[in-house]
């Protein structure tokens, strides 16, 4: 690993050894610093707990009967724990349908993104052809385009094609991801070419080489791209909000953000729908935490 900044300590350390790469400073000698360090840690622990409060409050409210939510001042006490708000969500909204739409859209987009981006990344990495540099630059330039600036023409496109409020409209615009192509390309760059050469000697064509050699080796990249595409597509609000005009086509974010669920006092119901709306991704997060965090972490380095 190359370290960019050269400090006197770095130079002395390099001169000294090449040990295990692990972080963590040491310095227990100064008791004042120790106390300060402990206080600071305490502050961070307290803030972490504060960070959990909004979610905890949401859960708390969701289990209250509605009239218990309109007390002043607000209190954590639940007079009578009830699931009625959760039941009300399903009867007042099309949440079940939104789950299906979200899952369908997220999965299809993920699959299509992985397929198209890995193929393109492979081509840019392995294949030699005229204009390759141009294509590569064109795709990189695409990374700069903020999709929010395109909502108007995209809507118009689908409107003209009479495809608004269909799965086509929800899925298709979310598929092209230049950054995914770039990731795959860099990944394939790192794979020794010898494996494919061996395959070619055996008479394999480009498609077989891609399918049998490159793709299996790309599992880590596929995993990371899949997870992120899935999470981001699931959470996408603006485009489904525009593209889905009827309740039955909305994804969870669009549905929650657009439809007024229920009449009268609906605070517990709204909190219940928040919990239900977040649940699938929370599951994914809890189970795939390491992958997600590693993916994010890898983003920034080098």
């Amino acid at each position: 690993m190359t370290v960019a900044i050269s400090t006197p300590w770095q130079r002395s350390a390099q001169a000294r050894s090449s040990g295990a790469v692990r972080s963590g400073p040491r310095g227990k000698k100064d008791w004042r610093a120790n106390l300060f360090g402990r206080a600071v840690t305490g502050v961070v622990i307290a803030l972490a707990l504060v960070w959990l409060i909004p979610v905890a409050w949401t859960l708390d409210t969701s289990f209250k009967p509605e009239n218990a939510t309109i007390v002043i001042p607000a209190t954590w006490a639940i007079p009578k724990l009830t699931f009625s708000a959760y039941g009300a969500v399903f009867s007042a909204t099309d949440l079940g349908r939104w789950y299906i739409n979200s899952a369908f859209v997220a999965i299809v987009v993920t699959v299509l993104t992985v397929i198209t981006a890995s193929m393109a990344g492979y081509a840019l990495s392995r294949r030699r052809f005229r204009g390759k540099a141009f294509f590569y630059a064109a795709i990189l330039a695409g990374i700069m385009i903020p999709p929010q600036a395109l909502i108007v023409p995209l809507f118009r496109e689908f409107q003209t094609a009479h495809l608004i409020n269909t799965y086509w409209a929800l899925v298709l615009p979310q598929v092209p991801a230049p950054i995914a192509v770039f990731i795959f390309k860099k990944f394939f760059d790192g794979i020794p070419i010898s494996l494919e050469q061996a395959a070619e000697v055996d008479g394999a064509g480009w498609w077989t080489a891609y399918r049998r050699i490159a793709l299996p080796l790309a599992r880590p990249a596929i995993a990371a791209v899949s997870i992120f595409t899935f999470v981001w597509t699931w959470n996408n609000f603006l485009w489904p909000f525009l593209a889905a005009t009827s309740q039955t086509m909305m994804t969870i974010p669009a549905g929650i953000g657009t439809v007024v669920s229920g009449v009268g006092i609906i605070n517990a119901l709204q909190m219940a729908s928040a919990v239900l709306g977040a649940l699938p991704l929370v599951f994914v997060f809890l189970l795939a935490q390491r992958q997600i965090v590693e993916g994010v972490a890898g983003t920034g380095l080098k």
Binding site: N101, A103, I183, V284, L286, Q291
Partner: protein
């Protein structure tokens, strides 16, 4: 296998946005992750399975309710008390027509609702029936977004022009076609706390508040109420430009003023009249006779708690106060500037233009509308003046107090000035209401508020008309 991470520079613009995945990075694939994903999908499908039948085909072809022939899709923007009443009425309809599956969606009030409706219609997947404020007809009429309803067709479904409040029905007639069927008229009114008014010696022998005529009379009354130590009049404007607009427009129309002409292309706001009206509102604000430092929840709460003697708002809060057993009544908004007109709007039923004409669905839609109209008494309980005359003229409605107190206003209602950018919850109301609202808390003097209003109207009137 070592994985080379991408250089930082290409991650630059790959900021997570709605339409693109966050910069993903290689990491070891975990079977657990796959299982997790599968579990999630399974759970979603299982939960979804609990809630009805799903038609993926319709999701691909874009036919929403229409795919299922016996589903009627109905959109409205009625939440709160209105929403409960509408649900009651829908229930009565579905009970009488078990063969039809009514899919009713409530969307947020204001611009978001109309944006969604327009987009849905133009994209070919509109609801079968929708609620529309009558004042929005200049936005939806010209581009042909609504299905014209011939009088013969209406008659065949039990609805004739004579059955409706004439003013509302005629306003729903646009360019030679009947585009909307009025459900009600909902004017700006005055709520008054009878207990407080009695204490101030304002009530007459029958326990009612006699009509207050003229600005001086109003000021006198408000000052008397102020001596009781309560808020004389509450009127919200925080986050509520619509109410601010209604207060101004009621008084300005009473003075005979006009705002726009030539379908909104010309601004004819009269400076003298406007500043006179604004001056009166300003006086009430600065003299402490009117509290406008509340949002709609706050204003309702103030009146409900008995802390305000008068409440100036649309009539739809009546449910709330009755439920709280508040001693109150309602009356048409006082005639302070000459005439006794008041700002109002009407909820109407419209049949959005469908991509393909289907007489059967149209008939179903009209049947539903007729059924809901028949439930107008339920609707009137929520405070609205029914447009359906068989109910409005009925003894049962006249018995509804205080709802029937202001029933005559329906015939002298002043709707928002016609323009494509006007109507309930429109930009016009938002911009003008912002200026008026600030004046209502003393933040702008009348001249400044007038200038701001004028400027907003001028800007809007100059925009190229998109309809």
């Amino acid at each position: 296998m070592s994985i080379k991470k991408p250089s930082a520079r290409t991650i630059t613009a790959a900021t997570p946005g709605p339409l693109e995945p966050a910069p993903p990075m290689p990491g070891p694939l975990n079977r657990r992750a796959f299982l997790a994903g599968a579990a999630v999908l399974g759970a979603s499908l299982a939960t979804a399975g609990c809630a009805g039948t799903y038609d993926v085909a319709s999701g691909l072809t874009g036919s929403s309710g229409g795919a299922n022939a016996s589903t009627l899709v109905y959109w409205n923007l009625l939440s709160g008390g209105d929403g409960s009443h509408m649900e009651e009425m829908e229930a009565a309809y579905t009970k009488a027509h078990p063969g039809v599956n009514l899919e009713s969606t409530i969307l947020a009030w204001g611009n978001p609702y109309y944006t969604k409706l327009a987009m849905a219609i133009r994209s070919g997947s509109p609801p079968d029936v929708a609620i529309m404020h009558l004042s929005r007809i200049n936005e939806f009429g010209p581009p042909g977004l609504l299905t014209p309803l011939s009088l013969d067709l209406l008659a065949a479904h039990g609805m004739e022009p004579k059955d409706f409040t004439p003013l509302a029905f005629s306003k729903a007639h646009f360019n030679g076609h009947q585009l909307a069927i009025p459900l009600d008229t909902h004017p700006f009114v005055q709520y008054y706390n009878t207990k407080l008014c009695r204490k101030a010696g304002l009530l007459d022998s029958s326990g009612q508040l006699p009509p207050i005529t003229g600005t001086q009379a109003m000021l006198t009354v408000l000052r008397k109420l102020k001596k009781l130590g309560v808020t004389p009049a509450a009127c919200d404007q925080v986050n509520d430009p619509a109410t601010a607009w209604r207060l101004f427009y009621t008084l300005y129309s009473q003075a005979g003023g006009k705002v726009l002409a030539d379908n909104g292309k010309k601004v004819v706001l009269d400076e003298a009249l406007a500043t006179k009206v604004l001056g009166f509102i300003y006086q009430m604000a600065t003299e402490g006779l009117m509290n406008a430092n509340v949002d709609s929840n706050g204003g309702t709460a103030l009146f409900q708690a008995g802390s305000a003697a008068f409440y100036w708002e649309g009539e739809w809060e009546v449910d709330v106060y009755q439920a709280a057993n508040l001693p109150f009544s309602m009356q048409p908004f006082p005639a302070l500037f000459g005439s006794d007109v008041a700002q109002a709007d009407s909820h109407t039923f419209v049949v959005p233009r469908q991509s393909s004409a289907d007489p059967e669905r149209l008939s179903q839609a009209l049947t539903m509308i007729r059924a809901l109209l028949g439930q107008s008494l339920t609707w009137a309980e929520g405070g609205h003046i029914p447009a359906w005359l068989p109910v409005r003229d009925s003894a049962a409605y006249k018995k509804l107090k205080p709802q029937s107190n202001y029933e005559s206003v329906a015939d002298r209602a002043i709707y928002d000035p016609p323009a494509w950018y006007s109507g309930s919850g429109s930009d016009m109301e938002n911009y003008a209401g912002a200026a008026i609202g600030t004046l209502m808390t003393g933040g702008l003097n009348p001249q400044a508020a007038y200038q701001e209003m004028r400027q907003s109207f001028e800007t809007l009137s100059k925009e190229t008309v998109p309809v």
